[in-house]
């Protein structure tokens, strides 16, 4: 207790020097928390978008389905296993049927994916409701990117050709019932969403699907007759890997920033140990052990980070609160990288994040303060009293 009091008194007594260090450290604090918060916000948002638009509570895939290999789509469809069917009937899952097709926007041939979804579904954020009444034509919903690359507009007709389950050619005019603006390119690029039942009829695949999407929060993971359960962890591997790389980039930035602050602190420590030999000698003469002395000086350094945390709180809390409210604007084109990020990222600052950052800075500060203080161990009280250091 004594040394804490003493340390506090000492560093407050150092005046300007202390506060300069504290300010530099507090910058690191705010920067670390801000960067981490930004990445967390980004990752949360990407996961949220992906969950809402694609994954919900996880998926079951037909055994032949491989989203990375379009060649597998011919075979990737089948009757939905009974237990999944029960879920669907209870409104806890929806089936989606995926098939390849040829589209002819403006008479030009292109490959596309047809995705059948129940129009009345509530599990995914896809606005499938617009598919409920398409009149005589087959209504189709496309995303903004698809609209751009094909030149299609709401209300346009599009010729689509496909082969049904037996390989018979079929073709029809699709009516573009709406264009959805989505942050997730995985439900947009090169695909047309159409009513599931209509699609099953078109393909002659009654009761079949390619994937089944579980309701958000679903814990269902039973074996389902050859269909493979894919949990969120699996489905979001890419997003999480991306987030990881982003935060690696961020880490490099704030590690350097932290190093800079530590440089100042290290400097201060060395100087104070150099300058305060007599003081040390006196304290030792008064009976303080070398260990306690090391503790005292280490503590003095570490208190900087506590003060820095306080300083950071003073200007950081309003700053970060503001940025968490207003978010961080991203231009629309960012998503052309194929990432599902909204147009505005809201940093997310959690208690764990703040506590973690404080702990990190405190630990690093303590270590940095301790390193020069080790020198004290070699100190002879007699020399110290005379201002000498060996």
């Amino acid at each position: 207790m004594l040394i804490i009091k003493l340390a506090l008194k000492n560093i407050l007594g150092a005046g300007l020097r202390t506060w300069l260090n504290v300010i530099a450290l507090s910058f690191s604090f705010v920067a670390i928390i801000y960067m981490q918060g930004l990445y967390n916000g980004m990752s949360d948002q990407m996961e949220k978008i992906a969950i809402e638009a694609e994954y919900a509570g996880g998926q079951y895939w037909h055994s032949s389905y491989d989203p990375f290999d379009p060649l597998t789509l011919d075979d990737a469809h089948g009757k939905i296993p009974d237990n999944l069917h029960t879920l669907i009937d209870r409104g806890e899952a929806i089936p989606i049927l995926i098939r390849a097709a040829s589209i002819y926007p403006n008479g030009r041939f292109q490959n596309a994916l047809l995705k059948g979804i129940p129009p009345d579904q509530k599990i995914l954020s896809i606005p499938s409701g617009v598919l409920e009444n398409g009149g005589t034509s087959i209504p189709a919903l496309i995303g903004g990117r698809m609209a751009r690359s094909t030149g299609l507009k709401k209300g346009d007709y599009l010729t689509v050709r496909w082969r049904d389950t037996n390989g018979t050619f079929d073709a029809d005019e699709f009516f573009i019932s709406n264009i959805m603006k989505t942050d997730d390119s995985a439900i947009d690029n090169g695909q047309l969403w159409i009513p599931l039942e209509k699609m099953r009829e078109m393909m002659d695949m009654k009761g079949e699907a390619t994937i089944v999407v579980l309701k958000s929060g679903s814990r269902f993971a039973e074996n389902a007759g050859g269909w493979n359960h894919k949990n969120l962890e699996f489905l979001m591997k890419d997003i999480r890997a991306l987030f990881l790389t982003k935060s690696i980039g961020g880490s490099i930035f704030y590690i350097i920033l932290l190093l800079l602050a530590m440089l100042a602190l290290f400097d201060t420590q060395i100087l104070s140990i150099f300058r305060r030999r007599k003081e040390m000698g006196t304290l030792m003469a008064l009976g303080m052990t070398r260990g306690t002395l090391i503790q005292l000086f280490t503590l003095e350094g570490a208190i900087h980070s506590v003060l820095a945390a306080v300083a950071a709180a003073i200007y950081g809390i309003p700053l970060l609160t503001y940025s968490a409210r207003t978010g961080f604007g991203l231009p629309e084109s960012t998503d052309d990288f194929g990432l599902a990020i909204g147009n505005r990222i809201f940093p997310s600052f959690t208690g764990a994040l703040v506590a973690g950052s404080i702990l990190l800075v405190l630990t690093v500060t303590t270590i940095v303060s301790y390193l020069p203080a080790r020198k004290i161990a070699k100190l002879e009280p007699t020399d110290a009293l005379r201002g000498k250091m060996t």
């Binding site: 300069l20 890997a241 790389t245 490099i252 350097i256 800079l260 300058r275 194929g338």
Partner: protein, 424 residues
């Protein structure tokens, strides 16, 4: 006087070594951080430019409309003449033709029959003409994983993961099946020279890199290419200049009534990155200024401490009758030397390390194994003119500033109490 000060600095390590170390470490960190930020930003723009858009890009208007479909039947003919014209008009720019193509890669068994097949996308670039910029643009040599670079016609590089998927190795034959620009089936044999990591996971999974002359032959595209890319000589995108070049080119060559007449587009237009570039620019400025502020404080602090530790010496100097202002001046002059010396070392070390980071990069690709996203797998720093100033100037200024604030303490010293302080 100066000589004397320098001698003093050199002889008293505590007066020179430690402050110089502090200054140079601070400057070093500033330079590295700045270069790193620069590199990450530039890399994002640059990888788009290098792989996709160039700084400017010439295509036929028809090709530009459907460019995501790789419509080589709409490619730009008479490419040699156009390139020559561009070279004459813009001698500083680097021009290079490319063809993007898709198809199947077919791997033969020992009888020459199909053993395995996989969908492939490809990029054909000028590999073998002596002045080809592609080796640098695509950093081909550095991305080799297995095997070697192509040294003669008919050799290709293949994505390392893709090679694994098709179970082929350098030295094997792979046949490209695609269609010619006129729609005929194109079949062309290649030898795998090596496997590469493109740094873009989507390409690593299913792409090949071939020589443009081979692909022109394979796809019946003599004197024709899908795209003609232009790069600024320093490889740094200059929006103003690019827009100017594009406007004058389009005035001269673009014919609205002829779909096969060329059109030039700039990087932001072609990539849709314009807002992003603007945003990143402003973000970079903010981050760097926060950083410089922090660093100035640190260096100021260190200047302050440098003066404090010489309390005794100054006492003696005052006691023997040296003028306070003179001492103050010498202190500042000393700090200037320290600032310069430290900044030089820090800048040299910082740019050196940044340069290494620019060449080797920090590879985080192993974290992205099963990803299908078009993002470069390597962080690289970038040393630019700014790298030499970003630490240097604040390094000197903040050291001098620190010393001048700290030095004011001299004027508060009472001559009378000096000897008392000096008692040991």
């Amino acid at each position: 006087m100066i000589k004397f000060l320098i001698k003093g600095l050199l002889r008293d390590r505590s007066r020179s070594l430690f402050p110089v170390l502090t200054v140079s470490s601070g400057v070093f960190l500033a330079v590295v951080l700045y270069s790193f930020m620069n590199g990450v930003i530039a890399d994002m723009i640059n990888s788009t430019a290098r792989y996709q858009t160039g700084h400017v890009k010439v295509m036929t208007q028809a090709y530009a409309e459907e460019s995501n479909q790789m419509p080589n039947d709409l490619a730009l003919t008479g490419i040699n003449e156009i390139t020559q014209t561009l070279k004459d008009n813009y001698p500083d720019m680097i021009w290079t033709a490319r063809i993007k193509f898709g198809g199947l890669l077919d791997i033969p068994d020992e009888k020459g029959e199909t053993k395995d097949q996989g969908p492939v996308t490809g990029l054909a670039v000028d590999l073998f003409s002596p002045s080809s910029p592609e080796w640098d643009l695509l950093r081909i040599e550095k991305s080799i994983i297995r095997g070697r670079i192509p040294v003669e016609r008919g050799e290709i590089l293949i994505g390392d993961e893709f090679a694994g998927k098709l179970d082929i190795a350098p030295g094997d034959t792979a046949t490209l099946i695609s269609s010619t620009m006129f729609g005929s089936m194109a079949i062309y044999n290649f030898k795998i020279a090596g496997t590469v990591r493109f740094g873009i996971s989507a390409m690593d999974r299913g792409a090949i890199l071939a020589d443009i002359a081979d692909i022109q032959e394979a796809l019946d595209m003599q004197d024709t290419a899908g795209e003609l890319l232009g790069y600024f000589p320093d490889n740094i995108y200059n929006d103003e200049k690019a827009a100017e070049i594009a406007a004058s080119f389009n005035r001269q060559f673009k014919d609205p009534d002829d779909r096969f007449s060329p059109i030039m587009r700039t990087l932001p237009v072609e990539s849709g990155l314009s807002d992003y570039i603007a945003m990143i620019d402003s973000m970079g400025v903010i981050i760097v200024s926060i950083f410089i502020a922090a660093m100035s404080i640190v260096l100021w602090n260190s200047g302050l401490m440098g003066s404090l530790r010489r309390y005794g010496e100054i006492g003696v100097r005052l006691a023997v009758g040296e003028n306070k202002t003179h001492i103050y001046k010498t202190l500042i002059l000393e700090s200037l030397f320290i600032g310069i010396f430290g900044s030089v070392i820090g800048t040299a070390a910082g740019t050196g390390v940044s340069y290494l980071m620019q060449i080797y990069g920090i590879d985080y690709g192993y974290l992205m194994k099963n990803s299908s996203m078009m993002i470069s797998n390597v962080y690289r720093a970038k040393v630019s003119t700014g790298s030499f100033f970003i630490g240097f100037i604040p390094g000197i200024v903040s050291t001098v500033l620190g010393a001048s604030i700290a030095g004011t303490g001299i004027y508060r010293r009472q001559t009378a109490s000096l000897f008392k302080e000096l008692e040991v």
